[in-house]
């Protein structure tokens, strides 16, 4: 069924010609893109679902009738804060550092470019994520709850690596980590030589009770999407505005950047 489609399964820009069907796929998500005169049609479905091309309910976008329609297909973070909920809590002894390298599923962002004007039209998760509440019941935030996977997951091109270092600078207490909340709008996405994706290096520094800071660095990485680049900085120190001490478990939360 899919042999007549033009395969575009990678990140980047693609020129879309009328009447052709373009296919972007991972092992979990398929996206079909088609242009008919001044209408751009997109359909996405899960890989386990069978495709019947005659029964597709396309989503339509009215565009300027133009021969050179360029589509950008880029990796993206989710539209909500991500909570990394670890399968097991872990402790970091005082004056110790622990590297945690986890991977999370990526979202796919589709933009159309016409006459140098780029318009974002759709963001689709490669895999659906569970949601959960972070914070107090009356004053918190709805987030994506992701149980980070180990790095050996198949098809890593469509996952994103979060290199996290947790440093316990406290001279008194061990640090027990159960979950992190990370606001993705302050993170960049980088592409490595093997085409895999990663975020900034995230350094969580615990100093004393309730005093946690998060620093990010993005040295020597090729950026695909970089809000940090916009603020012209390679290292951003951010103070934590929400830090809850609950039975010796510390929840960290990163702050909007204050210049």
């Amino acid at each position: 069924m899919t042999k007549d489609f033009i395969d575009i399964s990678k990140w980047g820009s693609f020129s879309i010609k009328s009447q052709e069907i373009y296919h972007w796929k991972t092992d979990k998500l398929n996206i079909l893109i088609k242009k008919e005169n001044d209408i751009l049609k997109i359909y996405h479905y899960k890989s386990e679902n069978e495709l019947n091309i005659d029964e597709i309910l396309w989503q339509d976008w009215l565009i300027k009738e133009d021969n050179d329609l360029i589509i950008d297909i880029l990796p993206s973070y989710p539209d909500k804060t991500i909570v990394l909920k670890f399968k097991r809590t872990f402790s970091i002894l005082k004056k110790q550092k622990k590297q945690i390298s986890v991977i999370i599923p990526i979202w796919v962002k589709i933009k159309i470019k016409q006459k140098d004007i780029a318009t974002e039209i759709l963001t689709i998760p490669v895999t659906e994520s569970f949601k959960g509440w972070f914070g107090d019941l009356s004053d918190g935030e709805l987030c994506y709850y992701i149980t980070p996977e180990q790095e050996n997951t198949n098809n890593q091109l469509y996952f994103l690596k979060l290199p996290i270092s947790v440093i316990n600078n406290s001279e008194k207490n061990s640090l027990i980590i159960e979950k992190f909340a990370i606001q993705p709008k302050y993170l960049s996405i980088f592409e490595n030589q093997e085409l895999s994706l990663s975020s900034d290096d995230i350094n969580v520094i615990f100093k004393s009770d309730g005093d946690v800071s998060i620093a990010m660095s993005n040295l020597n990485k090729k950026s695909i999407k970089s809000p940090l680049k916009e603020i012209n900085s390679k290292l951003v120190e951010k103070k934590v505005f929400q830090s809850i001490n609950l039975d010796q478990t510390f929840y960290t939360y990163n702050l909007p950047i204050k210049k």
Binding site: E128, F130, K131, W133, L137, S138, L142
Partner: protein
């Protein structure tokens, strides 16, 4: 005579100028302040302030015109005072509603598009006005609730917080393994994308009933998904119980006659 005519013309022109500019200015000020306060605070506050400015403008224009016509305002205020008392008695309910409306706007127990329950009415708030709150029920009825009633009675704002809990009451037969049932229920909640991961789903054993053990499955969802998830989960619970041969009992009644442990005999006659 000529002098009098001229004087009348001057007064008429004055009155017309006061009327047109006064009413125009009042309406313009009311509209602008309404826009400003709606943006700055809330549409309800904007509406009240704009109406207040409009009415004050009308009063000022009326008083100015009456003075131009030669009425003695002291006498007029005296009459207005007496009339005010009479009108006050007659419009007690309306005034009470207006004051209640002001308290409602200040207290903000709900806003437009919230889902509220007042008495037996549950629906979406469509407007909060000076005299009443207009609600559209889920079966598409329009309900006008006087502000005074809202102040006096208990109001539940169903959508005040972004997440809500669904309590699904389930009864199982006494022969069933409670732990197995708990596992089945939690597995259902943990695999449904619309159920939140935090707060975590939970199963409670509520009581030993006459014919059943009564449990509750407690799951948290986004407020907009409450009805949808409840429906999905009720169906999934039934399907999972059928698949795992878990019995949902109906009331059983045992009748004894004579000895406590010995059932009485039944004779069927042809």
């Amino acid at each position: 005579m000529e002098f009098l005519k001229n004087e009348y013309i001057v007064i008429t022109i004055k009155i017309l100028i006061v009327f047109i500019t006064g009413i125009g200015l009042s309406m313009w000020l009311s509209k602008q302040s309404g826009k400003f306060f709606s943006k700055k605070f809330s549409p309800q506050k904007g509406l009240i302030i704009s109406k207040l400015i409009l009415y004050i403008g009308y009063v000022i224009v009326s008083v100015t015109i009456l003075r131009e016509l030669g009425f003695k305002l002291s006498a007029l205020f005296g009459v207005a005072g007496i009339a005010g008392i009479a009108i006050g008695f007659a419009s007690q309910t309306s005034v009470s509603n207006i004051i209640s409306g002001i308290f409602l706007i200040m207290e903000k127990p709900f806003k437009i598009d919230d889902v509220i329950t007042i008495g037996e009415v549950t629906g979406t708030v469509k407007s909060i006005d000076m005299l009443s709150v207009k609600v559209r029920t889920f079966d598409n009825r329009f309900v006008r609730i006087p502000n005074e009633k809202i102040i006096k009675t208990e109001v539940t704002n169903v959508t005040y917080y972004p997440i809500r809990r669904i309590d699904i009451d389930i009864s199982i037969a006494y022969k069933e393994d409670i732990n197995k049932v708990k596992d089945i229920l939690l597995d259902l909640a943990n695999t449904e994308l619309l159920c939140l991961r935090n707060p975590e789903p939970f199963v409670t054993v509520n009581k030993f009933g006459n014919s059943s053990i009564d449990l509750s499955l407690l799951i948290w969802v986004e407020k907009t998904e409450w009805h949808k998830v409840k429906n999905i989960m009720m169906q999934k619970v039934k399907e999972a119980f059928d698949k795992n041969n878990i019995e949902i009992p109906f009331p059983h009644l045992s009748l004894y006659s004579g000895l406590e442990t010995k059932p009485f005999s039944i004779k069927i006659e042809k």
